[in-house]
Amino acid sequence: MLKVKNLCASVADVEDSDILKGVNIEVNPGEIHAIMGPNGSGKSTFSNVLMGRPDYEVTDGEINFNGEDIIELPADERSHKGMFLAFQYPVEIPGVRPWQFLKASLDAKSEYHGESKISVREFSKLFDEKVKSCGVNPELIKRSLNDGFSGGEKKRNEMLQLEILRPQLAILDETDSGLDVDALRIVADGVNSMRSPDRSFVIVTHYQRLLNYIKPDIVHILVDGKIVKTGNADLALDVEKNGYKDFQ
């Protein structure tokens, strides 16, 4: 599904700012990959580059999604093709209601694929259902997008979006940071319930604790812009015990 070959990226318009220095991973349908690494290793850059954030420039390598090179595509088209990024720090957008925003997202996707748009009634039903199952405060969700949400509430809102947009590939950028155990469980439940043979996840995390709830198929250790080790779920436990020092 996702093939990343020798991916090199730097901060756009800044010289000698290489962050990713040749990342290779291959994610097959149905797999959950965890990308772990110490602070400053390039984890967040990697997830943002996958989604096409304009702040970064890809200097070399390939990102191939379902057989198509997507490096030139803007974020909205990557979204239409089935990619999703759950943000580490979701931004607050005053005056934009989550309901309206998600309906517009689905409509844009339908339009892109030449499909008919979901009706308001159908969407409202879906929305209410998911608000409930994601444990999102129904009063909060009537307000502006992420505006005045606590850290945990923002992450729940990311999971709500994930469940409504139902992407093929979901990238979770340190979604677990700042979450209490209950919220962590909600994120994990969300991922586990959406797990299917044709949906994949790339979970970027500093700590192993989220992986207590979501069992990854493959764990990569990213250090200084390169994958230095790849293994199974046991690798994460290893890191938990010994830290990243063995890989640096």
Partner: protein
């Protein structure tokens, strides 16, 4: 700031962003260019006006002429334009057919009706479908007023200003100039001398106007100024919601628009006045466009409420401060505004809240959006006079920048002469950040849609004050007006 070159009248047209830029080939009757006592008399006689009104116009003209010689145009606003040659403007332009005023829509020039179709206000359908009575002012002459019969039953008067002068002279005489006297300012004085038409509404005591009254203004004749006059009187305990829309054709030369709106809300009455101002803003290179110098003011008597909502996306220059004189005890004044400037547009707009009565309360929510090379200034005055015990004002003044060549300025004047007053002033300036854009785009919205969503969301506190249909139009206008500023 202003120098006295006349505006170039032969520059090229380019760009096609302004979709209301069509002209209508209607035969027009023009008075000669220029302004003098004879022109004022001509306008008055064309309208068969009574002597008192001609007299008022002449006084206004003389006052203006004095002002023009001594001080000229006010120059305190943060706007820059070549001086206006007041002798190079047509002060009277009426479609020829108006000499025999149409008695029904069937008699209206079909081509003119087509113009309104293009504007999206098919008069004859609006009447039935939307329940909106439209008074359409086309180059300052009111074309047709719909729904008049239905309003008549309730005793509501809604007609062109000229008709009001003919049929309700006492009301006009009593209130004309009572809120904005002709000596108020340069442009109000000019308007008082030469106004050719406009709208008039009167709501009798205790009547709640069941529909939204609406006027659509359009400038069509090249080189003509538009000087319409609106007077709305809400008698004791009545309510009215009034909508005003404005467009102008795509012209290479600048057009002057100097309107006056007076609102009178008597005891316990409420007037809600909403405007979508979409005059031609000029080309992306800054050629042409409407110069919009407008005086809007309301007077609120005891327990009365006046609320202004405006979405300003058009005009090369906007100079406009819809204000409320809170004269009666417990009266309320509100001002909600979104002003957008793109390309070379300049806006200096805001409000004045003058607190005279006890327990008076005012709210100001101003949102300025600057894009391209646009310059946007909020200028607001809150005045608490000695008699205004326990007056309250809350002001929110936000600016949003799109791109790095635009400007946003905030100039609040606050004058408090009663120690019991409570005032709050909040202000912020922000940018459409890359973070927000990327967040929305990662959810599938195009860059343009993402911009639009951020901007309309940011303007929501104002847009939701508009009647529903107008809110949709306003949101669309913001989108269209920002084209070219994004990406």
């Amino acid at each position: 700031m202003t120098n006295k070159n006349t505006i170039s009248r032969n520059s090229d047209l380019s760009g096609d962003e302004y979709q209301w830029g069509f002209t209508t080939d209607v035969e027009t009757e023009l008075a000669p260019k220029g302004l003098n006592t004879d022109i004022v008399k001509l306008i008055s006689s064309k309208k068969d006006e009574p002597a008192w009104l001609l007299d008022w116009r002449i006084k206004a003209y003389e006052n203006w002429e004095k002002l023009n010689k001594s001080e000229g145009e006010p120059d305190w606003a943060m706007i820059n334009y070549p001086g206006i040659d007041y002798q190079d403007i047509y002060y009277y332009a009426a479609p020829k057919s108006s000499s025999n005023t149409p008695k029904s829509l069937d008699e209206v020039d079909p081509e003119m009706l087509e113009t309104f179709e293009k504007l999206g206000i098919p008069l004859n359908e609006r009447e039935k479908l939307a329940g909106v009575a439209v008074d359409a002012v086309f180059d300052s002459v009111s074309v047709a007023t719909t729904m008049e019969d239905k309003l008549k039953e309730l005793g509501i008067i809604f007609c062109s200003f000229s008709e009001a002068v003919k049929n309700h002279p006492d009301l006009v005489k009593k209130y004309l100039g009572s809120v904005v006297p002709f000596s108020d300012n340069f442009f109000a004085g000019l308007n008082s001398a030469v106004f050719s038409d406009g709208s008039f509404a009167y709501i009798p005591p205790g009547v709640r106007c069941p529909i939204e009254l609406m006027t659509y203004f359009r400038i069509n004749t090249e080189g003509s100024g538009q000087f319409e006059r609106t007077l709305i009187v809400a008698d004791k305990g009545s309510y009215v919601s009034y909508l005003e829309g404005c467009t102008a054709p795509f012209r290479k030369s600048h057009q002057l628009h100097a309107a006056v709106v007076e609102l009178v809300a008597l005891e316990d009455a409420e007037i809600k006045y909403s405007t979508i101002q979409n005059w031609f803003p000029g080309t992306p290179e800054g050629e042409g466009g409407v110069y919009n110098f407008v005086t809007k003011r309301g007077r609120a008597e005891k327990n009365a409420k006046i609320s202004w909502t405006q979405v300003e996306t058009g005009s090369a220059i906007t100079w406009k401060y819809p204000s409320v004189i809170l004269k009666g005890d417990n009266s309320v004044g509100e001002f909600y505004s979104v002003a957008l400037t793109n390309n070379h547009q300049q806006a200096d707009t805001g409000t004045k809240m003058i607190h005279l009565g006890k327990n008076t309360k005012s709210t100001i929510v101003s949102k300025g959006i600057s894009a391209g090379k646009g310059n946007n200034t909020y200028r607001g005055q809150v005045q608490i006079l000695p008699g205004a015990e326990n007056a309250v004002n809350h002001t929110i003044c936000d600016s949003l920048l799109v791109g790095d060549q635009c400007g946003a300025h905030t100039v609040p004047y606050i004058e408090v002469r009663n120690p019991t007053a409570r005032l709050e002033h909040e202000a912020s300036t922000s940018k459409v950040s890359e973070d927000k854009l990327f967040y929305l785009m990662s959810r599938g919205l195009s860059e343009e849609e993402a911009h639009h969503m951020i901007i309309t969301g940011w303007s929501r506190d104002v847009i939701r004050e508009l009647p529903f249909e107008f809110a949709v139009e306003a949101s669309q206008l913001l989108k269209v007006s920002l084209e070219g500023a994004v990406g």
